[in-house]
Each structure stands twice: as C-alpha cells, then as structure tokens.
Amino acid sequence: MPPHDSQKPKGPAGKEEEDDSFILQAVVLTDSFERRFRPITHETPRCLFPVANTPLINYTLNFLADSGVEEVFLFCCSQAEKVEAYLKTTKWMGDGSPFKKFQIIVNQKLTSMGDAMRELDGKSLIKGDFLLITADVVTNMVIGPALQAHRARRAKNKDAIMTMVLRESQSTHRTMDRGDKAIFVLDKANGRCLHYERILPDRQRPFLSLPAEVLQAPTISIRDDLLDCYIDICSQDVPALFTENFDYQHIRGHFLHGILQDYELYGKMIHCYITRKDYIARVRGLQTYDAITKDIVSGWAYPICIDHNLFDDMDYTKTRNHIYRENDVTLTRSTLLKPNTVVGAHTSVGENTVLSGSVVGRQCKIGENVKVDGAYIWDHVEIGNNCEVGKSIIANNVVLGENVRVMPGAVISHGVCIAPGTTVYGDYSITTTNGPDAEEEQETDAGVVGEGGKGFLYEDSESDSDEIERITASRLPRQKRTALLTIMDDSDSDSSYVSSSDESTFSEVSSASASRRRAKKSKQKSRMSINTQRSDYSATSNEDDPDESFFKEAYSSLLTALEANHPVEVAALELNSLRMSSNASFDLVRRAVATAFVAQIGRLTSGVKLADVKDIVLAFASQWHSLAKRTVFSRDDQVELMLELQKASLGLGKDLGTRVFAYTLQGLYNDDVLPEEAVFAWQKHPKGHLNNGQEVRSIADQFANWLAEAESDDSGDEEEEEDDEEEESDEE
C-alpha cells in the first residue's frame, strides 16, 4: 500500500493563506423599512421576533459567523435601543464573540436601505467586498462558494459590482413572499442579471417587458422561481453608487433597476448566484413567518434545528414527530402534544389540553381543555381554561380569559387582555398602543376585547388594517399607491419622495411598448393570479391602469414644478425618480412632459393677445427645454414628443393651439432639442394628420417648410442658426 501522506491535498490550505489579507465584512440592516408586522412591531422590532422561540437576528448572525465574517456593522433605526439591549445579552457582543468587530450604527433618520448605504459610504468603513443582509434571514448556507465566484468575477472585470444570492424554489412555495415576487432575466452563460421585474400580486399581467439589449445575450433564462432574500455580496462601488444617485432607496426596485437600465452610463454588472441545496428564507410577512417557523420545526433548515440548541440559552430536546420541549416544562398526564409542536422553558400546560403544530414560548400558562392549533404564542402568555386558539400570533404578555375563541388569522399584540367568553375574529389585529409616535392613547374597545379586557383594533394610520397580511388567507398585502400620491401632492421640497416607504414607491410596473409575451410563463402566472382575492382592490379601480396612474402623478408633479418655477434639475430628478419607481416607459414620460408643457403654456397665455403668445412660449421653451431633452434619445423619440405636443395643443383650441404648438416646436428647435430632421420626420408622420391633427398644424407646417428650404440653401451649421434667427424675425 502506498504511503497515505503523499495524497494529502495541499489545495485548501494554500488558498486560505492567500486570502489571509482579505477581511470579510458584513453590513446588517435590522430595519426592514416596511410595515407589514404592525401593530406588533410597535413594541418589538422585526429582527427580535421569536422564530421557533429564538429572536430572528440570531439566525442571521449565526450565518455570518459560519461564513467567517470578521467585522459586522449593524444599522439600527427604529427601536435601536431594544436591538442593542438584546444583543448585549448575547454571545455576539460578549466574550468569545465570533466577530472581531461588532459595531452598531444607530441612526433614527434612516428611512430606507438607500439611506443606510449612503451613510455607510460616508463613514468609509468598508475595505473591500462585503456582505449586505437584513437581520431577518434564516439560512444554513455558507457564503464561501458565492464569495469565491464573486471575487473571481471581480478579478477579471472590476465592473462586476454585486452578486445576489438566490435560492431556486417554486413560485408557489410557502417561503416565497406573495407580496414581493420578481422575475429575473439572466444571461445563462455567466449568471449576469439582465433584467429584473417585480410581479405585482394584484393584477393579472401576463407580460414581461424586455428591453431590446437583453436579447443580445446568446441564451437568456427567464425565471420566476427564484427566492430572493436580499443577500448581496457587494463591492465598495455599491455604496458609492447609492451616494451618487441619492434618489435610490430600494436595493432592487431602484438600485438594481437603475444599474441595469443605465448600463451605458455606468457600465456596471450585477450577477446572480443561484443555489440549489442550501436553505435560505427571509421573514417578510406573516405568511413567511409561518412558513419559516414550520420549516425550522420540521428540520428543513438542518443543521439549524431547535434541538441543536445553537443559541445561548436554549435547552431543547426533541422527541418523535418533531415535538420539542425545553427544560422545566410542566405537562399533565392528559396533555396531548401533537406533531410539530415546540414548548419553551417554564411553561405549564393544563389537563386535557391539546397543542398541535404550535410554538409556545417561555413561561406561559395554558389552562385546562384548551385547544391550540397552529398558533404562535410568544412568552409570558396566559391562556384560560376552555379556550380555542386557531392559527394566529399571540405576542408577549397577552392574557386570554376563559372560553375565549381566537379565530385563525388574528394578531394579538403585546399586553392585550381578552375578557372571558370573547371571540376574536380572524381579521382582527388587536393592540394596546398605536406606536410611540401616536399622539394620544386610544381607549380600550370593549366591543372587541370584551368587558374588562384591554386593547383595541389596530388601524393602520395610512390605510386600513386589512393590508396586514393574514397567515391563512391567501389575501395579499394591498399596495399603498395612495401614499405616494399624497406625498407628491403636498410636497414643497424636492426631497419629499425620500420619506415614502419603499413599498409605496414601488408599486407600478408599466407595460412598456416593447413588451413580449412569455408564452410559457404566462400560463403559470395566470394560475397564480387566480389565487389572488381581487375583491380587495375593487375600491381602487380607477388606478387599475398603471400607465394612467403614473401619467397622472407625473403630470401633476411636473405642473407643480413648472408653476412654482423649480430649477430644471430638480424637476428632472423628481420625474426620473418617479419613472424609476413606477418602472414607467419614456413614452409615458414624454406624454406627461408634453401635456404639462402645453397646460402650463395654456395657463400663461390665457387672456393674452395672440401676438404676445410667441414671446411667452419661446421664453418658456428656453427655460424648460432641457427637461424635454431628457426624455428624447432617438429620432423616433423626438417625433413622438412632437406628436404628443401636437395632441396636447389641440386642447387649447384652434387659434391658440396652433400658435402654442408651432412656437414650442420652434423653441425646442432653437435649443437643439429637436433637430430639423426630426421636424421633417414629424411632418411626414401619418399619425400627425389623424384626429383633427390638422387643426393645429398650419403654422408648424410652415415652419417645417421653411426649415426645409433653409436646409437646401445652407451648407454650414453655424450660418444656419444665424439665419434661423433672422428668418424668425422676418416671419414676425
């Protein structure tokens, strides 16, 4: 037999030494900037939610420790003091912490992931590639292979700035967040992300709009089965890009979208790392909270198992059928624990009580003859005799009197008391506080919690409580489109959109002109949409067409800007952010610009003599031409803009409209927005002659004819311009 030692591989050891200078850093966001878990998140931040009786953040930090992360920067925003206080009690910040550096960055002003990244960039803490993650991810993966792939790509090409870690799944999988699914279009050869589009839950839209450039890749794969938990390996360029584009808020909706769309501008590439064997999931809403807890209980996240007692104070033992008990649990002889049940320490359960598929926290008291099925009961909860608890969340320190029924879907927040004999219906969210910002404490609503109870129905301040997603129902979170509208309307400052939450700015997807039917996917998608309960949305029918709603918003915001004489850059930025957030096409933007221009000119010229119109219009055009310029990129676009202007001018009546249109054209021509070729193309365009188009064409036609003559006469550009001006005055 040959000596064994000779075969010992030197590979891994050597590689490790090469990497020695590289320190893996991680940026953790504890705040999701979402409001899905209200009202519970008024009192417990999402990252401290117990999942299988362990605060969520532990799972994320455990993943970082396993991945050899040495420095952690934890961004805290709302309820930072609670997060910090909790972390101080754990091993993550204590002696023997696996991290060499653990820095908590508290900033109450953060309102989005974009803000956090800008702050990160400002602090210049990042030394190399880093891991960006939210503190609500549960995973057993090891980042090594993804990190190596990322670094290899970056060594070859510095422009590969980010790698998104995705898990192959199924679009109907329980851990897929129903409110945030997306389609990734990837270059099959190298995993580069070419296009990203969110699937909106509230609308049947069997279309995917692919920009033409995407099709240049030899093979693309279009996938709706990727579970995106927002785990990204980023290079230093990523925070810098956030700083550069201070309207980026959301890492997918804005950043990814922007980088993909402006590839010509930035030349940056974003890749995907798709794993097929690791468990990755993120707690996004009640539906995923339920799914992930189930996954952990039934061992899918192995070795992240309850009975492995991974975290500091755990002491669980497991018995057959996924039943977990911690130490000092008091059960009676007639207590029945059915499969998939977890019972925390110091909890006592009374006679003839049945627990099934539930997680019960620590130091709870559950009475006799209680039936608990699929509930998530947190710590220090008291449940009286003969209660029936369905699939619901019951937060810390809740007291349920005797004979209380909690129907599936209910959410009972901290400290609520339900009086004996009360029924809590499935669409109830009961709380005792409207959050720290609430002006006044609300009175207990005896109709909800019964006489002697404590708590009231939670109403979301911005929309009704229905939007909180239920565990059982396939009902989906309602998109908060209205929020954006109100913000845009009463905005005086140009930075107002910053204050909108990422959900609200992320609501629209336009059907761009280049949309292509996805024969294969459409079937699947329409099936998914059938699950959607559409009744919720009947109230918002006027917003059914996303294009229409974008147009309205853009139009109104532009008009505000024009009226108030905002600087052109501000108006352009506002428009651009609106476009990105809605994923609107430039066609729509042009339409909005043209309509707003004409409307504003109409206002300026009302009651003015026809002779003065020209001066007003030309002055207006010279002030605002650059805004128009930002919407046109090709000859077609320019023609399109003119057609839109023509259409809009119709609304001003024949006399005024004709003049306004012609002079706007002339003004834009003077300012190089529209070259003469475009004007000629417009002249010939058949669309311009339809629908009373003729009415407003006359002067513009003359203008075009004159241009044509000047063209044939002239040879040099500069002379031509001088000529123009002379001609204009002649014309007058």
Binding site: L24, H173, Y279, N340
Partner: protein, 421 residues
C-alpha cells in the same frame, strides 16, 4: 502578532481549520476555543466519530498544556466540566465523551503512577507504543498487537520520561505525561483503521461474498487489505439518502469527489485506491434489495458510528435492517470499529440516540406541495441491539459482544462514566 482565523473566509469551519488554529493560539484564548468547538459540534460542522474524537483530543491537549494547576483535582474537574459541556452540545457523538473519559483516566493513572513505584509491565508497554508509533510514520502495516489482554489503559498511560522518582510529584512531570498520553490517543486515532485492517485476512476468505453498507473508511480499508491477497465479491448497499452520493463517487473512483476528499481530511488517511481498482467484484444494490441478497452472502461487515457499553451499535440508518436480515439467514455480522468508538454509555433512550438529519436529502425542498403537506423524517442512525452482532473487530483485535464489558473496564474509570455532577 498575527491572529489566527477560527473560521476560514467564506466558511465553513472544518476540523482542519479547527486543528490548525488550536495549535497556534495563546494560552488565554483556550476558553474561547472550547466555545468554538462547542459551536462547531452544535452546528454539525465537525461530525463523525473520528473527526469529533480528533478535535476533542486536540482541544484537551491544549487545555492541559495551557492550564496551571497546583492540585491534580483542579485539572480533573476542569476537564470534566469541559466534557460535560461538549457532550451536552452534541450528545449523539459518543466519541467526544469517550475521549474526555480516556483523558481523565490518563490523568488519574499518571497521578497513581507518580506516587507508587512503576509497575512491572512498564517495559512491555513501552515497546508496544514504540512499535505503533513506528507504523504510523512509515505507513507500514504493523503486526497485530499481540496480547489482547494487555491493558490498553496502561499502555497509553506510560510516561516515557525516564525520571520516575517518587519525590518528583510535581505537576510539570504529570503534565508532560498527560500530554504524551493524549498524543498517543491521537496516534491511536490515526492508526486504528490500519490495525483493524491488519486482521482482515483472518476474516475474509477467497471467493466469499461480503455484504456491507454505505460509506465507512474503516470498512473500505479492511476490504482493501483483504483484496491484496484474496479475491472475493463485495455487495454494497448504497445507504440512501445520506451516504448514497458518497458511495457512488467512491465506487466510480472519482479522485476529486467530495467523498474522497472527505477521507483526505482525516488526519493521515487518504483513500486512494477504490475497491474497484483493487480488482474485486463490486455490486451496488439499493437498500431495499438487502434481504433478497442475504441468502447468498457469507458475511456482513458493518462500520459503525459508536458502540454502546452493552455491545449495541449506533450505526448509519439501514444497519438495523441489514443485521435483522442477516439474523434471519444466520449470516454472521462482523462490526469493525476503532476502540475509541466504544462507549461506556448504555443506550437507555434508544429513540433519542438517533438524530434527525436533513429531510432535503430525501425530498427536495423546492417541491412546494410536498413540503407543505408532508412531514419528512430522515433518521441518521439506527440502533442495533447486541444480539444481532456476532463479532467486533477493534484495533485491539477481535472480541465477542459478551467480552466488550472487559474492554470498557480497561479503557474507562468507573468514576468517569458519568461526567455529570
């Protein structure tokens, strides 16, 4: 000072990185390493009897060398404490507790040897240990250890340092002795498979049909050794779902397969020759076909995860079915296991002895409907009662199940069987 990474960049931490880092740390960092090993065990990043045993022995060696003590009770209680924490972290890796108990026994022996004059059996023990050390270095198969009745315990606890004066009851001498003893345990861990394989020719004869299961380095070496002289047929049950991939890779002889590099990670072992290359007839069968094949099988050879004090096995899932089938057919079942797998613990809680592994190995997690509507349980281990086993082959030789109590008594002090309290 270059601080040593406990976890390689990108992870995951492994036995390799643990052993590497433990040799470089300062004395003050030792408690941190205990916590680190505990978390590695909890996260199942170090798993398997040999790996956990090697990690534990390395850790204890560092603990002993870093600790200053005035009275020997201090170090004993310290090691008991560490042992308690380690075994609680992963109660199913019995090898961890075995190594802790062995080290405790070493210390006790060392103290006793230090006070009374050295016993008569000293020279014999020294030669034996030299012999085994030699075989490690050269990779030459050592002669099977002659007298199985020689106490392994006294063999390991020999202090090779020459001065054995009664007066030198200093902790320094004891410490050196303990360190040496632990080093020998580590040697034993790396040579155990060779010593077991040395007796292969006594048990496998020409033209026999041998049935084995899954993926065990010990079994493979045992068969390989026999294959050098004899030609026979091996039937391998694939060990679905946990061992299946490894078995396939090893049998297809893929040198880069994770299965083979896994072996390479073990201290001195490299599984270079696959069974197929050794010229055997190898038949791979699904686990369900075991009973059908059993009537033709001459002998069943099983590897095991651990052996309990009563002679029962904690072996990879599927072992119970095979031994039951063998019992029906009166086919002898031979278990090959290093002595470090032999535990003084009795299997009172048979159900708790097994771990539930990753259900994703049986059902893909992507399968939304299955995940939603089924509970999938992937049991990692079976308990095989002692009456199903006919012979144990350890690095000390072959023993009948009824004789195991004697080896247990030789290896472990009764006061250390329970680490609690």
């Amino acid at each position: 000072m270059v601080t040593q990474r406990a976890v390689p960049v990108g992870g995951p931490p492994s036995l390799d990185s643990f052993v590497k880092s433990i040799t470089k740390i300062e004395a003050s960092q030792v408690p941190g390493m205990v916590d680190h090993l505990i978390s590695l065990l909890k996260r199942r990043q170090i798993r398997g009897s040999r790996n956990t045993a090697v990690a534990t022995a390395n850790l204890l060696m560092r603990v002993v060398s870093a600790t200053k003590w005035s009275h020997v009770d201090a170090i004993i209680s310290k090691i008991r404490e560490i042992g308690r924490r380690l075994t609680r972290a992963q109660p199913r890796e019995l090898a961890v507790g075995n190594i802790v108990r062995r080290v405790l026994g070493l210390i006790r022996e060392e103290v006793e040897n230090d006070s009374p004059p050295p016993s008569a059996s000293l020279p014999a023990g020294t030669t034996l240990s030299l012999q085994s050390a030699h075989s490690t270095q050269g990779g030459v198969p050592a002669a099977p250890l002659g007298q199985p009745s020689t106490s392994m315990f006294s063999l390991l606890s020999q202090n090779p340092t020459p001065q054995k004066d009664k007066s030198s009851h200093s902790s320094k001498n004891i410490k050196a002795g303990i360190m040496e003893g632990i080093r020998e345990i580590l040697d034993e861990l790396s040579t155990a498979d060779d010593l077991i394989a040395a007796s292969a020719l006594e048990h496998i004869h020409s033209n026999e049909i041998i049935l084995t299961m899954g993926y065990s380095v010990t079994v493979q070496r045992f068969l390989l050794r026999a294959a050098q002289k004899r030609s026979f047929t091996v039937i391998i049950a694939e060990g679905y779902p946990n061992d299946q991939d490894k078995v396939h890779q090893v049998l297809s002889g893929d040198p880069d397969s994770p299965g083979n590099s896994q072996i390479a990670e073990d201290s001195h072992l490299t599984f270079q020759q696959t069974l197929t290359r050794a010229g055997l007839i190898v038949i791979l069968i699904p686990d369900s076909a075991v009973y059908a094949m059993m009537s033709r099988v001459n002998k069943v050879i099983l590897g095991t995860h651990a052996v309990t004090a009563n002679g029962g096995l904690v072996a990879a899932a599927g072992a119970a079915v095979i031994s039951k089938a063998a019992k029906e057919h009166r086919t002898p079942v031979v278990v090959v296991a290093g002595a470090y797998k032999l535990s003084p613990v009795h299997p009172f809680d048979v159900e708790g002895i097994s771990e539930h592994g990753d259900p994703g190995k049986a059902v893909r997690w992507e399968d939304a409907d299955m995940v939603e509507s089924c509970d999938v349980v992937n049991t990692l281990f079976d308990y095989v009662p002692p009456n199903m086993v006919d012979l144990y082959i350890t690095n000390l030789g072959g023993h009948a199940p009824s004789y195991l109590y004697r080896i247990v008594a030789d290896h472990y002090r009764p006061e250390d069987v329970s680490l609690d309290g």
